[in-house]
Structure formats: C-alpha cells, structure tokens
C-alpha cells in the first residue's frame, strides 16, 4: 500500500473499520448500561479516524501499543471483534482469556501488545519492540499510541529520547483529544502542540487533523517510511476529540457544550462517509451495506461472547510464569 494511491477497496475498508469502531463502542456503551459487562471502560467514539488512519499504514508483523482507551486501536489493527467482545465479557475466549479486560486488550501474534493502562507505560515497551525489530533486521515498526496526558509523564521523555538516539523503527502517536480525564491540555502544558516536543529529541514532530482519516494515513505513512528505512522515529500528533466522557462514570461536565457540539460537527465517521459518497467511491447503497454488515458482525460478536464459557475461578492461578 502506498500513501498516494489508496484505492477504492482500501478506502472502503478503512471506512468499514471506522464504522466497526464506532458501532462497537455504541454496543459496549449499552451493554454496560444494561449491566452486562463488568468493570469500567474508556470509550473512543470520535477518535476512529486516528486509530484507523494509523493502522491503515501498517503491515503484517508491525506492532501497536495502546492505552486504557484501546478498543478502536484493537479493531483498527484487525483483531477479531469476537475476541475483543469476549474479553469485555470476561470470557475465556477473549483475546486475553478474560485476564486482561478492557484496559489490556491485545494479541501480540496479531500485531498488538496488550494495552497498558498506566498512562505512558506503553511507550518504553513500544520502544523495546522497535529495538527488537531493528536488532533482528526486520522491516517492521512499532506504532505507539498514547494521549495528550501521557506527554507529561517521565516515560514519554525517556523512551522517545531512546528511540531517537538509536534511530529505532517506531512512530510515537499522540492522540491529542484535548483532555486527560477532566484536565484540559492547556492547563498542563505550555506548548500548543505536543508535536513541538519532538524537537527536544531531535526528531520530526507533525500535527495532523486526527479526524481526517486520509490525512492521518498520509502522515503515518511518511512516518513509517522514515522508521522502516532506518531514519528513526517521528512524533505524530493527531488532533481529535472523544465524544463520550472519560470513562463510564464520567458525564464530562468539564467540557463546554459548544466545544463538544463543534467537534461532533466534525464526526470522523460521518465526514468520511460523506467524502467517499461525494467522491463516488461509495454509493449510498454500499455505505448502507457496510453499516449493515458491521451490525451483523457485532451481533455475532456479542452472541459469541455471551455463549462463550467463563474462565474457571482457579484460572486465576495460571499464566504468572512461563
């Protein structure tokens, strides 16, 4: 795949992934409301263009790392929705066999390290993955997702610096959704863009409209090119917004209503649907079919999850050591 030549199939595929991310979160929202899922959840509706745009530039063998807000990343990376849903249902067929839960979704064999729920905690791990790729002479890269909030934690600094000095094949992706929990980004950093911090490590920093999936794809593509050819990391900042609260229990009252409304005007899924139909890449009928097939896939995923067996209580004891 090359950035300049996203063909129809690819675009339709990216669109479908975005729809899948969105509808997955919608289902999960209601499943939680109905009390059918345990624990908590951090949802990513509104950030689909970022997840899908990034992962659309990846190839087999690449690895992503994620955060407490990993659903769309996992879906965009192509993890089977069934195994994700089953994990949320705490079933033994889940991608982490019920041991991980929402905040640790992942499957390394499929290109995603279990998500790390400690803010910034995954940045060194992604850097280590990249070191392994470089050392082993693989052409793969690590794509490391984190939020604007993570840009203030020590591991951001230490790990990006290491990636930089060793020219590692890694792309550091900051999804700047303007808030870390309830805290507005400009309360906690003086620079306007997280990407400005790239200069501190001597690597390129780029800020992109994170709600424009093709713009994200293009920016990520150049970053992966750099990474794959030994030129080192890029700090890619994707400006986006989460539509929901920070976590399940958060109504999000700290955000001005106009701000939320303005961002909803720029709903990345709707925008892309409109772009693709406007450009004649998708007919309205095709778009509808995509929506329908996603609904069906999710229906099946929920069914699969519900029908899957729970782990046994004693499974608690396994998997501590290899």
């Amino acid at each position: 795949m090359s950035a300049s030549t996203l063909d129809k199939t690819q675009k339709a595929g990216m669109f479908r992934r975005m729809v899948l991310c969105r509808k997955f979160e919608e289902r999960v929202y209601y499943l939680f409301l109905e009390g059918r899922l345990p624990g908590t959840v951090h949802q990513s509706a509104g950030q689909e263009a970022s997840a899908v745009g990034v992962c659309s530039a990846l190839v087999e063998g690449d690895v992503i790392t994620s955060t407490h807000r990993p659903h769309s990343h996992a879906i965009a990376r192509g993890l089977p929705v069934k195994s994700l849903m089953a994990e949320l249902f705490a079933k033994s067929t889940g991608c982490c066999r019920g041991k991980g839960g929402s905040m640790h979704l992942g499957d390394l064999a499929l290109g995603m390290l279990p998500a790390i729920a400690i803010v910034g905690g995954g940045i060194p791990l992604a850097t280590g993955q990249a070191l392994a790729f470089q050392y082993l002479g693989r052409k793969n890269i690590a794509a490391c997702f984190f939020g604007d909030g993570a840009a203030n934690i020590g591991t951001f600094h230490e790990a990006i610096n290491m990636g930089a000095i060793w020219n590692l094949p890694v792309v550091y992706i900051c999804e700047n959704n303007k808030y870390g929990a309830s805290t507005s980004v400009d309360k906690v950093m003086k620079v306007e863009h997280v990407s400005e911090r790239a200069a501190a490590y001597g690597i390129p920093g780029v800020t992109v409209d994170g709600n424009d999936v093709e713009a994200v794809h293009r920016a990520m593509w150049s970053a992966t090119e750099r990474a794959r050819t030994g030129s080192g990391p890029t700090l890619l900042e994707l400006e986006t917004y989460r539509f929901s609260g920070h976590s399940r229990s958060d109504p999000g009252h700290y955000r001005p209503q106009e701000e939320v409304a303005a961002w909803k005007q720029r709903d990345p899924v709707a925008l892309y649907e409109k772009a693709l139909t406007d450009q004649g890449i998708l007919t309205e009928e095709e778009a509808r079919q995509i929506h329908d097939s996603v609904e069906k896939e999710l229906e099946e995923a929920v069914k699969f999850a519900e029908e899957s067996p729970s782990p046994a209580a004693e499974d608690c004891l396994s998997d501590v050591f290899a």
Binding site: P38, G100, T183, A313, C316
Partner: protein
C-alpha cells in the same frame, strides 16, 4: 495500647452517619481551614465540572479553597510525589494523591528514596510533612488498577502507613496524617468509599459510620479491637476488616468467638495490642488483600511468632491473595480476593485442629 471500640471518644455517640468519602473530605476541609499550609496536589482533583479526584474525595474543595490550594497537576506521578516532598520541606503540608495506588510505583523513587530519607540524610534537620493518598483494592479493573500495596511502603523506613477501614477512622487518621511531621502513605479501599457523595463502585460495601461533628484525631499506632472474642485473633486491615467481622459473625453462630483487630496503621504498628490478644486467644490469623508472599501479614506472623513463642496453640496462618497479578474476570477476581468463606474455614480449622 489498643482501645476497645467503646472507649473511642464519641464515635458511637454521634448520630451523624457519613460515608468514607464524606469523612475523608471533611478531614481535608477541616485541616485546610485550620492550617493555611495544607494544600492538595493531584490529578483531576479540582477541575470545575470534574470528578474531585478519581473517587470524588476532593469534590467541592476547590470551590471552597480555590485553585491555589487545590492544585490540579499534570499526569506526572513522580513529580507529584517529589514536588509534595519539596514543598513539605519548604514549609507546606501537602496532601497529594494518585488516582489508583498502582501508580505509586511510578513515584516510588521520590517516595522511598527522597521523601522517606530526606530527614535521615540531613541528620534530622529536615521534616517532610506530606501525605500521599492512594486507593487500593481489586474492583474488576484488571492487573494495573487493583493492587494492594501496603507491604511495599511498610518496608521503607521513614514512611508511615495508614489504612482505615471505616469513616470514623478515615477521618481521624487522615487528620492525624496531615498533622504528622513525617511522610505518610494513606491507603483507602475503593470498595469502602461508600455510595453517598461518592462514585459508585460495583461490589462496594456500604460502610456508613458514626462520625461526630466535634473534632477528633486518631493517634497512629493504636489498633482497634473491632470485635472482642476469646477463641482466636484475626488481624486485618481495610476491606478485610469487614470480611473478618462477617466471618466472626458466622463463626459465632458455630460457637467460635473470634476477636477481630483492625490494625488501622501499619507503621507504626500496635505490636502490643496484637501480641496481647494473641496471647489471650492463643491463636492468630492475619487477613490481607495483598499477595501472600511478602505481604504485611508476613511481618506480623514473623514478629508475633517470635514474641509470642510458646504462647500460641496453633500456627499463625495468613489469608491473603494468591501470588498472582489481579485478574480481570469477576469469577477469577472473587477467587483472588480473600473471601469470608476462606476466613471462616481457616479460623475453624485453627480452632478445631489445635
């Protein structure tokens, strides 16, 4: 040393009932009113329209005390701890917090190497009167949001460690912690916050406590006999106090009178109270939610085993989480957290087999 529950000043006398969250919030606001040097530092603690910290403890405090005293920080746990320590050395009395105790590991160097040792390294010339609040306990959030971390900090000389099990103790101990001239790690259990005025936690138990309106403090190093008994001593903290009390009620139906001791603070520890009780009942068990190996219960077993040697009729047994990370699936998590059943069974075995 230990005060039986009835002697505690005015606790039961009060008609007013508060949840843990309300009691802690009241402790903070009373201390902030009393002493201008008390400030709060943490993530999302004072944002308008926000949460009041991860578990609403600081809700409303920014409105009363302003953002100069309720300071929202970036997500920078090491600096939160270190800035609190530096500010404490500089004359303030900061109460910092992490949203989940699990994040204390990020701040470990600043807590264990800096805050805990500044006084010692300076030859006693510096005080570091800070409090670090940290919620612990497993609540179906998986491995990185459910650990119990008391043992790590109990093992660091220079840190005090508190772990209240109920609103009355929560308020009294937090006030004492704030007035203490040493760094205090203050553990709160997520399932004990209560639902009134708090974020609702699935599985949380409703511990409403009598909290007098009149000011009181609870000294550190005084365990509490939460329930007297003659047949066996059960030492516990935080949520496990409640499981142990529940177990004691079940045991009582079977004719076994268990004495339940709530340690309240782990550093300093009320060795006298536990030793006295153990000598009296001649049987001791310890219940903690932390992983068995190297939990604080190990120290209790080791030390009481030593000082009560020959006075016990049974081995000292520990009921604790297995040596695994916290699993996500509720079925596994229930297995992980020590249950009332296990406490009952263990006590019963000790009483009947020895």
């Amino acid at each position: 040393m230990s005060l039986p529950e009835t002697q505690i000043p005015a606790a039961e006398a009060s008609a007013r009932k508060l949840t843990m969250v309300e009691a802690l919030r009241e402790a903070l606001s009373e201390e902030m009113r009393r002493d201008e040097r008390v400030i709060l530092l943490g993530e999302d603690i004072g944002i308008a329209g926000g949460f009041g910290g991860a578990f609403t403890v600081t809700l409303g405090l920014a409105e009363e005390f302003g953002h100069r005293r309720v300071v929202d920080t970036p997500i920078s746990e090491a600096a939160i701890a270190g800035v609190a320590a530096g500010a404490a050395a500089g004359g303030l009395r900061p109460v910092a917090d992490v949203q989940y105790g699990d994040f204390l590991f990020i701040a470990m160097d600043q807590l264990a190497n800096q805050a805990a040792k500044l006084r010692y390294m300076s030859g006693g010339k510096i005080s570091v009167p800070m409090v670090m609040r940290a919620p612990v306990g497993a609540t179906t959030r998986g491995s990185q949001h459910g650990q119990s971390l008391e043992a790590f900090f109990t093992h660091v000389p220079g840190l005090k460690v508190a772990c209240p099990s109920n609103p009355y103790d929560g308020k009294g101990l937090l006030k004492t912690a704030i007035r203490d001239d040493n760094p205090v790690i203050f553990f709160e259990h997520k399932l004990l916050y209560g639902s009134k005025g708090a974020r609702k936690e699935a599985g949380g138990i409703e511990v409403l406590g009598h909290v007098p309106e009149k000011e009181y403090l609870i000294p550190f190093g005084q365990a509490k006999i939460a329930r007297p008994g003659r047949d066996i001593t059960i030492v516990a903290n935080l949520l496990m106090v409640h499981r142990s009390l529940q177990a004691a009620r079940i045991l009582a139906e079977r004719g076994i009178e268990a004495e339940v001791i709530d340690v309240r603070t782990l550093v300093p520890f009320d060795w006298d109270a536990v030793a006295e009780s153990a000598r009296r009942t001649r049987k001791l068990m310890i219940v903690e939610e932390d992983n068995l190996t190297g939990g604080w219960g190990a120290e209790v077993a080791a030390r009481i085993g030593d000082i009560c040697f020959g006075h016990l009729d049974a081995p000292i047994r520990r009921v604790a989480a297995p040596d695994t990370p916290v699993p996500f699936a509720p079925v596994m998590e229930r297995f992980y957290i020590p249950s009332t059943d296990t406490i009952v069974a263990t006590a019963q075995e000790l009483v009947s087999s020895y």
